[in-house]
Symmetry: C2
Subunit: 122 residues, 2 copies
Amino acid sequence: MLDNLQFDQKGLIPAIIQDYKTGQVLMMAYMNEEALKKTIETGKTWFYSRSRQKLWMKGEESGHIQEVKEISYDCDADTLLIKVEQTGVACHTGHYSCFYRDIEGREVEEKVFDEEVIYAPG
Amino acid sequence: MLDNLQFDQKGLIPAIIQDYKTGQVLMMAYMNEEALKKTIETGKTWFYSRSRQKLWMKGEESGHIQEVKEISYDCDADTLLIKVEQTGVACHTGHYSCFYRDIEGREVEEKVFDEEVIYAPG
């Protein structure tokens, strides 16, 4: 089924992550074929980090995992849309969604947690 | 205000387009700085076509324009989220959203129009 998808020259495909209950868009990140396979197998979102050049499971450090409810892809088959149940918050800044600023740079959504709380040791 | 944004090596930034009323994700396409400026100035979505290497206004041929309601960007400042009021349908296939297939390839959303109707001459 993954044969239908168009991964880019780097072997990546963007995945839009959406809250399955409210429809709020939470984040966008990239998957390679392995990340997508692990996402399907485990029912949790996995991504490929372009900066760290490795797979990571969303929430592996913070516990703020995403349980997959539905995966769809677009007409060009080059973008994924994944509806999830978010535990905690999606953004490493402590905001529920990564899209917390408007185009003027104003914070339009408040933090739920402080970063320090999310990534505090033990 | 656009100085905050991270355009990629090709000068592009992905823009997720979402129905402002229902929260349904309609499509994802790419903007360059000029497309984003025109989007802000005109209140309609403009994109950069990577295949045709030119700017286009969504709906310029079909009349199925998108009126911009809200623009936000994510924590990395490398993805836009644009809430719109969609006239007609977002997808050139005649579906309201481009995300009309699940990961198994099954059509999970029906067409609203036939392509032939959308792009019929005069």
